[in-house]
Symmetry: C2
Subunit: 336 residues, 2 copies
């Protein structure tokens, strides 16, 4: 492609390249008249500074990376909408990287950011990640990072997430109020503090209602749907079948629907189900799904704002912000 260059403008204006450059950068030593002419011609000829030249000079690219586990997931697609709304307003571009919940892929991806490709990073960890040396390496090189949703307490960055403990406590209490006494918790990771907080809320609600906390009622699902299908199928064919399921993520709830359908188990008569989920059409499911709905759009907005503020701060600001937004329990027929 042949974009209009500073040289083209300079030739047209009969000025040196450096004068035109200074004029467009509003330098004090260039006359108002020259600046006016330079800006007018730049607009007319549709001149845009080359972002790589600008990036090299200013040591910034106005580009950030967003690393997420997956994109075909309502929480993350809404969070991206939130990130986009702020990025657009503040003139940032964003690259998307998907780990597919794979720790090795996450490491590979972070290697791209050791060389100035991006100014900063919005990060939501893979469910496999427990060792965070690859993130610490980036931080030590001065890459600005803000974590959201899937955060790790080991990573010293600002974080945006939701009140996982409290909302899981309330959701578990809701299942107990609806008569469940044998509630299984289906986790999606043992590494993420997000997931651990959700499990703690579940355990504390059981304890508070004098229900025993049984190890054999906590299950770890993986990123493999077939494995999860088999696991849930085994759980639901036990003699002492759970009467309630708390799914830590939407995908696990949908697999549970699948298993119940195939085994002829009636939701909510035989088993009640609820899940963390941002599924917009949860109310049209059969039966409609009770959800703990996270403010996904707002989480994306907040994380992006914190990162852009960090990037634009005049002096190096190492203050760590922890922002917690509230999720909402939306009661529907799956727990009726």
């Amino acid at each position: 492609m042949i974009p209009v260059s500073l040289k083209d403008l300079a030739k047209e204006l009969n000025l040196s390249v450096s004068t035109v450059s200074k004029a467009l950068n509003d330098c004090y030593d260039i006359s108002a008249e020259t600046k006016r002419k330079a800006f007018a011609l730049a607009a007319k000829m549709n001149y845009h500074p080359n972002p790589y030249a600008t990036g090299l000079r200013k040591q910034n690219s106005k580009t950030i990376a967003v690393i997420i586990p997956e994109i075909a997931n309502h929480f993350f697609s809404l969070a991206i909408n939130g990130i986009e709304s702020v990025a657009k307003d503040r003139g940032y571009h964003f690259l998307i990287y998907l780990t597919h919940e794979d720790y090795q892929k996450e490491i590979e991806i972070t290697k791209h950011f050791q060389n100035g490709r991006v100014d900063g990073l919005l990060l939501s960890l893979s469910s496999e990640t427990s060792n965070v040396a690859h993130i610490e390496e980036l931080l030590s090189r001065g890459v600005k990072i803000v974590s959201f949703d899937r955060v790790s307490e080991k990573i010293l960055t600002s974080r945006v997430n939701t009140n996982d403990f409290q909302s899981s406590y309330l959701a578990t209490e809701h299942l107990i109020e609806r008569g469940c006494r044998n509630i299984a918790f289906l986790s999606n990771s043992k590494n993420l503090s997000t997931n651990n907080n959700r499990m703690k809320g579940y355990i504390q609600a059981l304890a508070r209602h004098q229900l025993p906390v049984e190890d054999h009622l906590v299950f770890e699902c993986t990123n493999d749907n077939d494995h999860n299908y088999q696991l849930i199928s085994d759980i639901l064919q036990r003699k002492n079948r759970p009467d309630g399921i708390f799914a830590s993520v939407e995908k696990i709830a949908m697999t549970t629907y699948h298993v119940c359908h195939d085994l002829g188990i009636d939701i909510p008569k035989d088993i009640k189900i609820l899940s963390f989920s941002n599924l917009e059409i949860a109310s049209f499911l059969n039966p409609s799904l009770t959800t703990i709905t996270q403010p996904a759009f707002e989480i994306g907005q907040e994380a992006a704002s914190i990162l852009f503020n960090l990037l634009e701060a005049k002096k190096n600001n190492s203050q760590i912000l922890n922002k917690t937004l509230n999720s909402k329990l939306i009661i529907r027929n799956s727990t009726n």
Copy 2:
């Protein structure tokens, strides 16, 4: 951030920057021994070339842009997964831009690409776009573009889409076979050839079965859900209510479910519904939704492959490829 630079390597090796650069670029005039030393140190010091310096020199950035109408939509999130799978393998990075179906936003976004920020572009048009001068402007500047799904016949680029005409014809025939005689078509745009091909399939199937093609049965929905709700609500409260609905996109089908629920209209007894959709959980809806399912992942893969081939072609290749992948009609209870 302070990445390791060529200068750091040169200092350590006691060589000039240009010698180290040549060594790492495997130039013929540098000895094998120097190359070995340079590569070994680069690996040890975790050196990565600055992408902006490389981009300036090679006039490429290994970065593409993906412009789509929205991301919280199963077709597009799956297509992005397809794009990502190819980009990762071929060493490309991708920026995401959302038009939110807004023509003006689409124009604003394309302005970013006049200056070498990206090597190429994967484009799925907004439903509002009829004038394509902004895309032609990019093409005239040599930006490589591949269109997918939401294509316009006015834009002379390679295209990847599905057999919209044929699959709509078959879907309409399915509604007729299930007894519908008064089928409404809910379009999402009058500008896109995608949508027009879907409508043509619908019209031709009606004609083939000696059913009148009525103007008052074709409706144009917009990007405004409230407007669509009102429109569909009006249609379903008419004296001569349709007995079948063909929704051109998933979002419109979900709004139709919403209206039917609120008006107490039974699907499929009172009205049958089908839709283009990549909703994975279509079978768990109440009732499960009959869908025309596009090979979204494969469309993304194919579009990305064509673009990368174009970018890597040794000589300027202006050949235009038109790739059509087949969608699948999946019959479920909403048309029972």
